[in-house]
């Protein structure tokens, strides 16, 4: 209730939101400096403790510098010691057989171009000579660097472990044996046990690919530098500069600006229409006296269950200009003579994607809003009535602010989700219609995300470097929006209050 009252005192949730964005940016330099201060302190401490281990460690501890896990073996921690030793063996093997070739060429991303391999006798080409593959160098360079970092952390950890064992032994304190380690894995260190595999998954399928793609933004990897036939190399911030070059009508800068504008417009339109549409639907279905509520709900919820590529492909075929069902129907009823280009004209196509998105998104938003609408406290309305507020005023002063307040985080998530709403645009229009004032392959309904897809995965002339720059910029937009909101959300701030 306290929260609700607060929201009524300052009913304009949007103003509050923008103030908080400002606050976030004002606090940013301070946080930035603090971060480096703390980092510096940490590094200093790290060196201090390392020095202490060198100076005060006995031979067992010092042996751990060479043989990882020695300090564990020496004090009876067999399991730990074995794991550390295994890691060291793995690391040495990795660095002998795998890592260095990639790491060594990481600075240049390869210099030797592969060439034709000519058979000396016949003079015919029988294959290609082995050259450098920039893509592999970059990818496995990243893998190697990450592995070295992880190894370094664990190496330091086992040193500290050995030193701690030594100190405990000196003071006659008990040292955790293998049995205790196993027990702790299920109790005190249970988080390590259960996070190990998910973390590995995230590292391999999210972190490494993302680092790789971010680095691509600083190379010249595109259709002129496709591997393995060609090499690509570092170019610094050139791609960012290219994206912000505004000369010429279909320059990258112009295209980017236009697509960004449409993406934001789309995000606003689609969020607002589905949200309000869902609210209306929820109110209608939950209206007192409506029969068969569950059946109605089921009808709408079907759209969530049907895979979007099915429902959207169906709709896109319905809207087809030549053979589409809608045009056929309209013609057979005699309403139109000529086929309407539903997805072929800029403004109509843009309207259609918003409308179809309502078809897709309204049931979802209905599910979310219906519970909340029913929970608006009755007292609020009563007190408003006693104060003499009219129904319109009641709606704008109570219902809407309440809904916005409670579903605020959801709205922002939706907004960010719509900026990245790949399916609707890709499956319906594929980004089209194309236009001479946009650089190919961008089209008039393309969002940044579908443009990114065309540039990297789908296109005939892949332009990975720009795709990656766009990805980074999309990320920045989304991250700023979300971080501000999540920072404000009480569920994050007062996390412990719940428990």
């Amino acid at each position: 209730m306290a929260e609700v009252n607060a929201s009524i005192k300052k009913p304009n949730a949007f103003v509050a939101f923008f103030i908080s964005i400002g606050a976030w940016f004002r606090a940013f330099p301070k946080r930035f400096v603090n971060f480096f201060k703390r980092l510096g302190l940490k590094i200093a401490n790290w060196f201090k403790s390392l020095w202490r281990i060198v100076k005060e460690g006995n031979w067992k501890t010092r042996m751990s510098f060479v043989v990882m896990g020695f300090g564990c073996f020496a004090y009876g921690q067999w399991l730990r010691g074995a794991l550390y030793l295994l890691l060291e063996v793995g690391f040495v093997l990795f660095m002998v057989f795998f890592g260095p070739p990639y790491l060594g060429k990481f600075g240049t991303l390869g210099t030797t171009l592969q060439g034709p391999l000519i058979d000396q006798n016949t003079g015919l080409q029988i294959g290609v000579t082995e050259g450098d593959d920039s893509l592999m160098i970059l990818l496995f360079g990243v893998v190697t660097i990450l592995f070295i970092l992880i190894f370094a952390v664990l190496y330091f950890k086992q040193l500290r472990n050995a030193f701690a064992n030594q100190e405990r032994a000196e003071f006659g304190m008990p040292i955790d044996g293998t049995k205790d380690d196993v027990k702790n894995m299920l109790n005190k260190n249970f988080h390590t046990t259960i996070l190990a595999l998910p973390t590995l998954g995230i590292a391999v399928f999210t972190v490494i690919p993302l680092i790789f793609m971010i680095l691509i933004a600083f190379t010249n990897y595109d259709y002129e530098h496709l591997t393995p036939g060609n090499l690509f190399t570092w170019v610094g911030f050139k791609n960012f500069a290219e994206l912000f070059k505004f000369t010429g009508t279909s320059s990258m800068g112009q295209t980017f600006g236009k697509l960004l504008g449409w993406t934001l417009l789309w995000a606003v339109l689609s969020t607002v229409t589905t949200y309000i549409g869902g609210m209306i639907l929820a109110i209608l279905i939950n209206y007192k006296g409506v029969r068969l509520k569950k059946v109605y709900r089921a009808f709408f919820v079907v759209t969530i269950a049907v895979p979007q590529f099915v429902s959207l492909l169906i709709i896109s075929k319905f809207l087809d200009t030549q053979n589409g069902l809608i045009n056929q129907l309209l013609k057979s009823w005699g309403w139109i003579d000529q086929n309407i280009k539903w997805l072929g004209e800029t403004n109509l196509a843009r309207l259609m994607v918003v409308v179809v998105n309502m078809w897709i998104g309204v049931p979802y938003s209905m599910l979310i809003t219906s519970g909340i609408l029913m929970n608006i406290p009755e007292e609020l309305y009563e007190s408003a009535r006693i104060d003499g507020a009219g129904p319109v005023k009641t709606f704008f002063k109570i219902t809407l602010p309440y809904m916005l307040f409670v579903t605020g985080p959801h709205l922002i998530t939706q907004f960010v989700g719509n900026i990245n709403n790949f399916n609707v645009i890709f499956l319906l229009t594929g980004g089209g219609p194309t236009s001479p004032d946009l650089r190919s392959p961008a089209g008039k309904t393309d969002l940044l995300i579908t443009w990114l897809y065309d540039l990297t995965v789908n296109g005939e002339y892949p332009n990975y470097k720009l795709g990656s720059v766009i990805g980074i910029l999309v990320f920045i937009v989304c991250a700023v929006l979300s971080l501000v909101v999540y920072g404000r959300t009480s569920s994050v701030k007062n996390e412990e209050d719940f428990q």
């Binding site: 990818l139 109790n187 005190k188 249970f190 046990t193 996070l195 998910p198 998954g201 399928f205 999210t206 972190v207 690919p209 993302l210 790789f212 449409w262 607002v272 229409t273 309000i276 209306i280 209608l284 209206y287 007192k288 006296g289 109605y296 709408f300 269950a305 049907v306 099915v310 429902s311 492909l313 169906i314 075929k317 053979n323 056929q328 800029t346 403004n347 309207l351 078809w359 049931p363 979802y364 909340i372 009641t394 709606f395 307040f405 409670v406 579903t407 985080p409 959801h410 990245n420 995300i449 897809y453 990297t456 995965v457 990805g471 990320f475 991250a479 999540y486 959300t489 569920s491 428990q499």
Partner: protein
């Protein structure tokens, strides 16, 4: 400036603005009106006794009118929402000239099981020459089912384990790790696809049936990042339960498996349901990993290739039958577990 940026003419901008403000005004108007009606009704029933009998009767008449209108509107909307699907299902049974894929009638005049027979016999289509001519639908369907089951189990485990660690354990890197995942989640999903593909190739997971293993890994590998909803649920389970179990000598592992999980049925079902639906819905990663080799792909890949431009005419009815085969099981499953889904969605999105 804004108009130039959007590439719209001034007139178009004006038209669109007018249309959308009209839509929004109408929507807001309807909401307002409905709420007023609703509140009036509540006020009437709360007062208990009607002030005047005549007024009461007119109110009742009004109410019946309102309810009728609402029912009509809801029915119309429900029809709009499901009509495309009904059309598709009916179309798969339609016997018609293959050259006009969209007859302007919703209910077929002649019925046939032809498309369904073609869908299930798994033989190459006689009249297509492309390599996509294989319509091996049963195989795609089973591929998808197997992939979905495996990735469902793995994802659910990963998600629940991550959420439990973040919700119940307190460790040094907890906050930074949670923030890191939040930030990682904001990058567009397929930005790193090329890298993922090359990693899978490096792991030799790009041949034959191993492609399906690769798909399972791609679908479930990063499942830990979706910890948000289930962590929110775990947070609401009272910590006192844990404490008392701890006093009885239970370890964290035991608390997780014996106390938290049995209390979390709704969220387990929600997580499993969304994870199970993932492979049926994805069409991006499967395209990247299988590269036109539909034999090891999911239904999404197969159905997509059916609608490629040159095959559209001949395969449209087949697509309709296939789409039905995909949509019906998922929808039925979804309907049964709807309660949990709604709980998960609302719980995860509106915790303010």
């Amino acid at each position: 400036m804004m108009t130039a940026l959007l590439g719209l003419s001034q007139a178009a901008v004006t038209a669109m603005t007018i249309i959308f403000s009209l839509i929004i005004v109408v929507q807001v108007g309807v909401i307002g009106w409905l709420i007023i009606r609703h509140r009036e009704h509540v006020a009437m029933t709360e007062l208990g006794k009607p002030a005047k009998k005549k007024r009461y009767r007119s109110m009742k008449a009004k109410r019946i009118t309102v309810l009728t209108i609402i029912h009509i509107v809801l029915t119309v909307l429900a029809i709009v929402w499901v009509l495309p699907f009904v059309y598709v299902v009916l179309h798969s049974f339609r016997a018609n000239d293959p050259l006009s894929p969209f007859p302007a009638k919703i209910i077929p005049t002649e019925w046939t099981l032809d498309a369904w027979a073609r869908l299930f016999n798994g033989k190459p289509e006689a009249y297509s020459d492309a390599k996509f001519a294989w319509v091996n639908f049963p195989r795609w369907w089973i591929n998808t089912l197997v992939i979905a089951c495996f990735s469902c189990v793995i994802s659910t485990l990963f998600t629940l384990m991550t959420s439990y660690a973040f919700s119940r354990m307190r460790f040094k890197l907890r906050q930074p790790y949670m923030k890191l995942i939040l930030i990682l989640g904001m990058f567009p999903g397929f930005l790193g696809m090329i890298a993922v593909y090359n990693i899978l190739v490096a792991l030799n997971l790009n041949e034959g049936i191993l492609k399906d293993v690769a798909l399972v890994m791609v679908y479930s590998g990063s499942a830990g990042m979706g910890y948000y909803v289930s962590k929110g649920f775990f947070d609401t389970i009272p910590k006192a339960l844990d404490e008392s179990a701890k006093l009885d000598g239970a370890s964290q592992a035991q608390i997780f498996t014996k106390i938290t999980l049995p209390l979390s049925k709704p969220i387990i079902v929600y997580t499993a349901l969304t994870a199970f639906m993932g492979p049926w819905m994805d069409f991006i990663f499967v395209k990247m990993i299988c590269r036109g080799d539909t034999d090891y792909g999911t239904v999404a890949l197969g159905l997509q290739t059916m609608l490629e431009r040159e095959q559209f005419m001949t395969h449209w009815r087949l697509f309709c039958a296939g789409a039905t085969m995909v949509a019906v099981p998922i929808t039925v499953l979804f309907m049964f577990l709807q309660k949990y889904y709604v709980e998960g969605v609302t719980g995860g999105s509106v915790k303010g």
